[in-house]
Symmetry: C2
Subunit: 334 residues, 2 copies
């Protein structure tokens, strides 16, 4: 799967910014790929991109219409069919991050076949993967892990890529979730892979590379999340990371979706990730800590980061507040 750009981002009638967060992520991280946004009447989200019709975007060379909006139940409404068909007729591929597939809309399937365009359902891997082999690969790998889901792993990894490219290091973000896939233009939605093939899929996603090249692999879930720890472990083993970044949000009260589970303490979470990662890469080390301090004041954030830094002896950043320069310094010297 390779999603051609530039993109037209469709956010429908998103009731708020949160419903358009996939599209917002793309606009934030790949502004150069985003020609414009398309909104329906009543849309409350705004990506601050030019509003365009399908015809406008096609005229400007849009290659893919991205359905970048979260609907209740992940459903693709039949009423969007004519708009999607028009995009296809005007030469665009279509990519959706919804649970319900583009291929469930018969008009869309017919149009794609007729015009030879691609339909990407990025949550549904079409690739067949082998089981993981656990063999060392050339090149270097970093994996973002976390105390919980939705705690900054993708953001941190993308910030690292941006900073490393700025320093002319060889680095590639490797996407394992839907928003990441739109941003990378390719990847594997790892939580949708059949369990037997999770580590194999990550090995496929991050093959042999130059000795001085870094794959920056997007983590998923947490080893301490009762729903998804198995996904996180398969990803950890397949990634066989040389370097781990631990992501955390210090004010979160419980594991996402599980009010009866507290977050693990940072030390336990770091130790357990290192311990289990050693199976496929005995040389794994921590590269640093990335904290989402958005709920702390400037002073609180500063002293919290400083405290962790001295406690763990690791560069500790908030990718938004401080940038990830300190982490990249460490990777440059790896």
């Amino acid at each position: 799967m390779y999603i051609a750009h530039p993109y037209l981002l469709f956010i429908g009638d998103a009731p708020d910014d949160l419903a358009a967060k996939t599209a917002q992520g793309i606009a934030d991280w790949r502004p150069e790929w985003c020609l414009g946004q398309m909104r329906l009447p009543g849309c409350k989200a705004d990506l601050k991109l030019p509003d365009m019709t399908i015809a406008d975007a096609a005229a400007k060379g849009a290659k893919t219409l991205i359905i970048g909006v979260a609907n209740a139940g992940g459903v693709l409404p039949e009423s969007w069919s004519p708009m999607i068909v028009e995009a296809i007729e005007r030469g665009m591929d279509v990519a959706s991050g919804l649970h319900s597939k583009l291929t469930t809309l018969p008009e869309v399937v017919k149009a794609a076949e007729k015009h030879g365009r691609l339909l990407h359902d990025v949550r549904h891997p079409t690739q067949e993967f082998a089981t993981g082999k656990g063999k060392r690969r050339s090149g270097k790998r970093l994996l973002a892990v976390g105390t919980d889901c939705s705690i900054g792993k993708m953001y941190t990894t993308l910030a690292l890529e941006r900073e490393m490219k700025k320093r002319r290091m060889k680095a590639d973000f490797r996407a394992t979730g839907q928003t990441g896939i739109f941003i990378a233009g390719s990847g594997v939605s790892i939580d949708a892979v059949v369990s037997d093939f999770v580590s194999g899929a990550v090995e496929w996603l991050s093959p042999d590379n130059d000795a001085d090249h870094w794959d920056l692999i997007e983590g998923q879930g947490s080893l301490f999340h009762a729903s998804f720890a198995g996904v996180s472990l398969g990803l950890l083993h397949g990634a066989a990371p040389d370097a781990l970044i631990m992501c955390h949000e210090p004010t979160r009260k419980h594991m996402r979706g599980l009010p009866h589970y507290p977050l693990p303490d940072l030390k336990t979470c770091i130790d357990t990730n290192l311990q289990l990662a050693r199976l496929t890469n005995p040389d794994v080390k921590m590269a640093g800590i990335a904290i989402n301090t958005s709920k702390l004041s400037d002073n609180e954030a500063k002293s919290y980061l400083a405290k962790l830094e001295s406690e763990y002896g690791l560069p500790t950043v908030d990718p938004v507040r401080t940038g990830v320069g300190k982490l990249v310094d460490k990777l440059q010297a790896w």
Copy 2:
């Protein structure tokens, strides 16, 4: 999915006993469900059951034709279609453990629709599962874990069920792999479940039960298997076991399928399973150790089991050589 019995076991032209090991497992553990075997010319395996045609088995009341043979590549040859269709016409459901689905044979699908019979592809879960919730359930749970794949987890669990039922304890084997599913008549092929839903599928498989009831859950893989550890962890978290049995084969040289990986030592493997199991059941304890001593002499086996027993302070058995009575003694006093 519920597979109706009695069964007719089809083993085709199996070139050796190994190719018929699924059917052999059913014949060993559910002899009362097995009316007979059906073999094609050239078959080298023998389940020591009466040879029957489809017509014979139907006349004796067979409810399901079981395709219990491993083919190269897991393929279902077109040439078996007429035989399967005959079974359907004579009133049987059909259940297959092969990778390629019964539903890929158009004649078979047509016959099943016409006669209202069920086609069970036990490697391909059709059920939709929720994500795991990590909530405590009533009743007691035991999970067999192991240092490696194919190391006696299913055999040990089934031996426990047999012994516990003999002692009139409330106990049910819960199948997580294809052979186990044929033996239980239901279950979930856990390595074929989409990774996000593995722990949820195990929660579904082992729901609330009487306080004195034991679910005996078949383990899969190993936390130390680089290909499948994620599956094992999702299974461990979903099972939320009160009791673990560690399974091991002391002469095995390397992890199955991974010649570059040695087996973990028993102590590390026990400690890691307990450590990770505590996330969803903080009260988890080891119930004992089950060793496959088939490659040791009587004396070697005896002294090896005695050594482990004193080293770990846990009842240690070989389910084949010594039976599992000692383990059940411990579970009776749980």
